[in-house]
C-alpha cells in the first residue's frame, strides 16, 4: 500500500535539511535566548540573525518580525490587537468615538473569521468583502465598502481552498491612501508569490513555517509598527513585550532555513510542481467525465487543483482514496470537524447540488510523476464506483 501526500496546503513534510539545522538547538544549543549567560546570549544572536535573514526574504524590517506559535496566533494577535488598541487610544478623548468598522474578505481562514466574529460580539462592526466567481476580491468592491470609521482591512494573499492569488498590492495601496490599516494572511503564499512587505505597503502579514516544509509550531506576525496592536499574550517581555513566551529557537531556526530554501529553489520547484499539477489535471479531464476546476485558472498557485466531481460526494471520494493510500482534502461538507459546506465554493457561485462534490489536491516539492499516475489510476476507479450508485441524475 502506497502513501501519496497531496494535501500540501494543510501541512507539508519537513525538509530533511531543515531538520538538520534545527537539531543542535534541541540538544546542545538549548540556552534560553532571554538569559544573560553565554548559552542564552548565543541563541539571542541566532534569533537576531534569523530575523535579519527573514526580513531580507520578505523585504521587511527585522524589528517588525514577531515569532508566534502559529499563523492562527498571528492572525488573532493582529485582528484582535488592532481592535483593542483602537479602543484604548481613543479612551482619553471623550469627544471622539473610536472606529469600529473592520472589513475582512468572505474567504478568510477561520482564524481571521472567528477573530472578527468575536469582535462583533464585543460591539465591532464587521463586514465581509465578497469575491467574484473566480474567487478574487475586487478593489472596486473594497472601495464601495469602506467607511470613515474603518480601522482595518484583512485580505488573504492566497486562498487556502482554491489557491487564488488576491490583488494585495492594490488593496494595500488603497488602504494606505485612506488611512486604514491593512493585513494579509500570507500563509499559503510561500514560495508562489514573492513576499514584498515594503513594496506592497502592508501593515501586517502572517506566515506559518509548516506550510513551506518548515516545522510545526512556529509562525510570524509581521507588524510594520509594533505599536498598532495591543498584545494578546502577556509574559516575560519577549518580542519587545508584544508576545510573551520563551523563544522557540529550534522552530525559528527551522522556519528561517525553510524560507531560505523555498525562495532559493523557487524557480526549479515552480516548474516541477506546475508540470505535475498540469499533468494531473490533464489526465483527470481525459479519463473522468463531468469534472470542472473551481476558481480562477489564471490567478492561481500552480500546485492547487480544486475539482468538482459531479454527482458524488467529496468525503466519500476522500475516504476511498485514503484507503488506497492517497491523502487529499475536501474542504467542503462533512470535512473532518464541520458538516457545513465550504465557505469559498458557495461564494464563487457553485450550485447547491455541487457544493459537496469537491476535492482539493495540493501538490508539494516531494511529489513524483509516479505518484500522480497512481493517483489518477485510483481516482478513475473511485469515481466509477461511487457514480455507479448515486441517486443524482
Amino acid at each position: 500500500m502506497t502513501n501519496v501526500y497531496l494535501d500540501n496546503s494543510a501541512t507539508t513534510k519537513l525538509d530533511p535539511r531543515v531538520l538538520e539545522k534545527m537539531k543542535p538547538y534541541f540538544d546542545s544549543k538549548y540556552g534560553n535566548a532571554s538569559s544573560i549567560h553565554a548559552m542564552g546570549q548565543e541563541n539571542h544572536i541566532v534569533l537576531t540573525k534569523c530575523k535579519e535573514e527573514i526580513a531580507k526574504l520578505i523585504n521587511g524590517n527585522p524589528e517588525s518580525i514577531i515569532f508566534t506559535g502559529s499563523a492562527t496566533e498571528a492572525n488573532n494577535m493582529i485582528i484582535k490587537g488592532v481592535a483593542e488598541k483602537n479602543k484604548e487610544s481613543y479612551s482619553a478623548k471623550a469627544t471622539e468615538t473610536p472606529g469600529k468598522h473592520i472589513l475582512i474578505s468572505t474567504i478568510e481562514h477561520p482564524s481571521v473569521k472567528k477573530s472578527a466574529e468575536y469582535l462583533k460580539s464585543q460591539g465591532f462592526d464587521i463586514e465581509l468583502i465578497p469575491v467574484n466567481s473566480d474567487g478574487l476580491v475586487e478593489l472596486d468592491q473594497v472601495k464601495k465598502m469602506i467607511k470613515p470609521e474603518t480601522i482595518l482591512i484583512s485580505v488573504m494573499t492566497i486562498n487556502n481552498e482554491i489557491g487564488t492569488i488576491q490583488p494585495i498590492k492594490q488593496i494595500a495601496e488603497f488602504a494606505k491612501k485612506n488611512n486604514i490599516l491593512f493585513h494579509t494572511d500570507a500563509v499559503q503564499a510561500v514560495p508562489y508569490v514573492d513576499l514584498d512587505v515594503k513594496g506592497w505597503g502592508v501593515d501586517f502579514l502572517s506566515l506559518s513555517a509548516h506550510k513551506f516544509n518548515g516545522p510545526l509550531g512556529v509562525g510570524i506576525a509581521y507588524l510594520a509598527d509594533r505599536r498598532s496592536v495591543t498584545p494578546l499574550i502577556h509574559g516575560g517581555g519577549q518580542e519587545y513585550g508584544v508576545r510573551g513566551g520563551t523563544y522557540n529557537i529550534p522552530g525559528i531556526v527551522g522556519m528561517t532555513e525553510a524560507l531560505k530554501l523555498a525562495y532559493a529553489e523557487k524557480d526549479e520547484y515552480i516548474n516541477q510542481v506546475s508540470d505535475l499539477t498540469q499533468y494531473l489535471w490533464k489526465r483527470i479531464q481525459e479519463e473522468i467525465d463531468d469534472v470542472s476546476l473551481n476558481g480562477s485558472t489564471e490567478h492561481r498557485t500552480p500546485n492547487n487543483l480544486n475539482i468538482l466531481f459531479k454527482r458524488i460526494e467529496g468525503e466519500a471520494i476522500l475516504m476511498d482514496l485514503s484507503v488506497k493510500g492517497i491523502n487529499v482534502s475536501t474542504g467542503s461538507a462533512c470535512s473532518a470537524e464541520n458538516l457545513r459546506p465550504s465557505s469559498v465554493l458557495s461564494k464563487i457561485g457553485l450550485e447547491d447540488n455541487d457544493l459537496n462534490s469537491n476535492i482539493r489536491f495540493t501538490l508539494g516539492k516531494f511529489n513524483t510523476k509516479e505518484e500522480i499516475d497512481y493517483t489518477v489510476d485510483s481516482l478513475v476507479e473511485t469515481v466509477r464506483r461511487l457514480r455507479s450508485f448515486t441517486p443524482i441524475k
Partner: protein
C-alpha cells in the same frame, strides 16, 4: 512513496469502525431496483447527503431492499447495514428499527456522523409508507 498497511487507514480514518469501513468499501444491496413496490428519496439539507430506498414486499415482509447513495462513507455504511438487517423482516418490525440500533450495528459512529443513521431510518420508513400508500 512510502508504504503503510491498509489496516492503518481502516482504523484511523475519522475514527470509523471496521464495520463502517467494510460497508463503505463493500456496500450490500446497493444499486437500482426495477419493479419495486415502494420507493423514497430523502436528503439532509445541512450536509447535502441523499439516499434512495427501494423495497419489494411479499406477504407483509420486505422481500428485497436496495439503496442508492450520494453521501459520505458513513451515509453509505448506515444505509448498507440497515438494508442487511431489515431484509426479510415484516414491515411492522422494520418500521420500528431505530437509528440507535444502526449505530450499534456499525460498532459506533463518530459523533458528527450520527445524523447519517437518522437519515437512513427515515428513508426506509418513507419507502414503506410509499408502498402502504399505493396499496390503500
Amino acid at each position: 512513496m512510502s508504504t503503510y498497511h491498509l489496516s492503518t487507514y481502516k482504523k484511523m480514518a475519522l475514527n470509523y469502525s471496521k464495520e463502517v469501513m467494510d460497508h463503505f468499501l463493500h456496500p450490500r444491496n446497493i444499486g437500482e431496483m426495477k419493479n419495486y413496490d415502494g420507493f423514497a428519496e430523502v436528503g439532509n439539507p445541512v450536509c447535502g447527503d441523499q439516499l434512495g430506498f427501494y423495497i419489494k414486499v411479499k406477504d407483509g415482509k420486505i422481500k428485497d431492499v436496495k439503496f442508492l447513495s450520494f453521501g459520505c462513507a458513513s451515509n453509505i455504511a448506515t444505509a448498507s447495514i440497515l438494508t442487511e438487517k431489515v431484509k426479510g423482516m415484516s414491515l411492522e418490525e422494520a418500521k420500528k428499527y431505530d437509528w440507535n440500533k444502526v449505530v450499534k450495528d456499525l460498532g459506533g459512529l463518530p459523533k458528527q456522523k450520527v445524523h447519517c443513521s437518522i437519515l437512513a431510518i427515515d428513508g426506509l420508513k418513507k419507502a414503506i409508507e410509499d408502498y402502504e400508500g399505493k396499496k390503500n
